[in-house]
């Protein structure tokens, strides 16, 4: 991806998993890394806990004039693997696009790995390891962000960690930063 190019990202998750927060944190980090135009937004409408939801991010070197939804993402990020069975997460993904999945499986375990660049990371495992739980449920949105710099050179891990520390001061922030580090180091890719 050339540095000028617009990068469009689609997050798939379930309501309550923090997909929108992930999109917001990612673009805040991208801005910090010198990308002048950034945008993050949810799929507009009512959100219900547990229901499949989408969130979007755009990253560009220029001011972004687009206000429409993302239809042809460069990157798809799946926070909940079970969604793949009920939602066509590959819909619109560009031919040279990448998909990052929260899973214990390896990229080759997905039948679309012969067509797309697939990256996998066990964000749920990382969340459990660091005790990042809300109501007993692992929170995967911050760990999975740690994996993004492995597949997108427009955003760096230190910037992601800085925006996380800025959002959650003190120990909470530190734990999340460690989780992003773990995720970054454990990404598996087929490309």
């Amino acid at each position: 991806m050339s540095s000028k190019a617009l990068v469009e990202i689609c997050f798939h998750g379930r309501g309550g998993q923090g997909s929108v927060t992930a999109a917001n944190l990612l673009v805040a980090a991208a801005l910090k890394d010198g990308n002048k135009g950034v945008q993050a937004f949810p799929l507009f409408g009512a959100e219900r806990r547990g229901a499949p939801i989408r969130a979007f991010a755009r990253i560009s070197d220029e001011e972004i004039h687009l206000r429409s939804e993302v239809y042809f993402p460069d990157i798809v990020i799946v926070l909940d693997e079970s969604i793949i069975e009920i939602v066509d997460v590959l819909k619109g993904l560009k031919r040279d696009g990448k998909i990052l999945i929260n899973t214990t499986k390896e990229p080759e375990d997905f039948d679309f790995s012969n067509k797309y660049h697939v990256a996998t990371v066990d964000a749920t495992g990382v969340a459990i390891k660091h005790d990042i739980l809300v109501g007993g449920i692992p929170v995967v949105n911050t760990p999975i962000l740690g994996a993004v710099p492995k597949i997108l050179d427009r955003v760096t891990l230190p910037s992601i960690q800085a925006v996380i520390k800025n959002k959650w001061k003190g120990e909470g922030g530190e734990i999340n930063v460690k989780a992003t580090q773990d995720a970054y180091e454990s990404v598996d890719v087929n490309f």
């Binding site: 999109a23 917001n24 673009v27 805040a28 801005l31 002048k36 135009g37 950034v38 945008q39 993050a40 937004f41 949810p42 507009f44 409408g45 009512a46 972004i64 004039h65 687009l66 206000r67 429409s68 939804e69 239809y71």
Partner: protein
């Protein structure tokens, strides 16, 4: 100057608080809710030192704004859709009482069918209340317009309330980077509000009393004159803002690549931003096309549009409809040209009910007109069958 990355609503809350209003009465409604939550949070942090009043309805919100503003203090509120409609009676009152209230309205569909997405029928149906109406296309424009609007509204040549409209979710819930000046810089730009008159227990006078037709007519004429004055002041304030902060979103309209254009597209709000992508693509294809993004619907930019109409054929996209007639912008654009230009104007209704309008859709609309295939007025991409 700092960069804040946040949603349109939180940016509007930040701007409102930095304008230092004394009173913010508000009632929450989707998708405005995070705007009032944002202001409530600034109460908690101590950054908002005014009075925040949680009222029981939007009608009450506007009543409280009227009371506060009449008592001589700067007043702000925000609403959306049905909330705006519930205020309707008091919107007229605020304007006729000449109260410089500033309000954000997040453009949302009117029900039934129940729908929280965006179109402009809520604010367009408040067109004749006397309020100045801005339509924003980015979060930066929301911030800058909120601050500028207080300066405009409080100018003694205007003294009219201002409604700042922006699209539900597309702006209200989308995070974008926004440059925020220092509080001192805002204070220098926007001086403390000095009312021309106010309700004062030590100097009791009455307002809004019964008056004879001849005097009432004077009130209406003065409001009309004040809207005309706003036409001159909006560019002056925008120029001062540009000089101080380096940012400019246009005057009554924002022209984009109109030089040498033989077709000019007119649109408001988020479609006005998306259209820039379309214009860039169509220019690359060799089409001589430009964009005039209409920023103010009241006062209406008649002179600017006439000038464009003398240069090029016009294409109008409306995300609203005056049922039984046509798109509101389309009607008013044609009225601006009447008898002075015989340029062609094509109107399109698009994006009602929050239906997405993409750069691709806008390019299709423009090509259809340029190729001479467009009707005078049509619904773009209508999926319901029939005509």
């Amino acid at each position: 100057m700092t960069v804040m990355i946040d949603t349109g609503n939180y940016i509007a809350a930040k701007a409102a608080v930095m304008a230092r209003p004394a009173v913010v009465p508000a009632y929450p409604i989707t998708p405005q809710t995070t705007l009032v939550e944002g202001i409530a949070n600034y109460v908690k942090t101590g950054e908002f030192k005014g009075e925040y009043i949680c009222v029981e309805s939007e009608h009450s919100a506007m009543c409280a704004c009227i009371g506060a503003s009449a008592a001589g203090v700067r007043t702000f509120t925000g609403t959306s859709s049905h909330g705006l409609l519930l205020m309707h009676e008091m919107l007229h009152w605020a304007a006729l009482a000449r109260l410089p209230i500033v309000m954000c309205n997040i453009n949302r569909v009117i029900g039934p069918g129940w729908n929280i997405w965006t179109d402009e029928n809520d604010s367009i149906s408040q067109r004749d209340t006397g309020w100045i109406q801005f339509y924003c296309s980015s979060n930066q424009e929301i911030f800058d317009t909120v601050i500028q609007s207080f300066k405009l509204a409080e100018n003694k040549k205007v003294l009219l309330p201002v409604m700042i409209n922006y699209n539900a979710f597309i702006l209200s819930h989308t995070s974008m980077p926004v440059y925020i000046p220092e509080q001192k810089e805002i204070d220098d730009f926007l001086q403390k509000y000095k009312p021309q008159w106010k309700l004062d227990v030590n100097n009791p006078i009455t307002f809004g009393n019964i008056i004879l037709p001849v005097d009432y007519e004077k009130i209406r004429k003065d409001m009309q004159n004040s809207q005309e004055n706003a036409k001159k002041l909006i560019p002056e304030i925008a120029k001062e803002w540009k000089k101080k902060f380096g940012r400019y979103h246009g005057d009554l309209i924002e022209e984009y690549k109109c030089d040498g254009a033989d077709h000019i597209l007119l649109a408001m709000g988020a479609i006005g931003a998306e259209s820039k992508v379309s214009i860039n693509n169509l220019r690359k294809e060799g089409l001589k096309i430009g964009l005039a993004r209409v920023r103010t619907f009241r006062p209406f930019p008649n002179e600017e549009i006439l000038k464009l109409g003398k240069q090029a054929d016009l294409i109008v996209i409306d995300r609203n409809i005056s049922i039984g007639s046509e798109g509101a912008l389309f009607s008013e654009v044609k009225a601006s040209l009447y008898g002075k230009s015989d340029t062609k104007v094509h109107g399109f209704i698009a994006g009602l009910g929050g239906k997405d309008v993409t750069y691709n859709d806008i390019e299709t609309i423009c090509r259809k007109v340029v190729e001479g295939k467009a009707k005078d007025c049509e619904w773009y991409g209508f999926e319901g069958g029939g005509k």
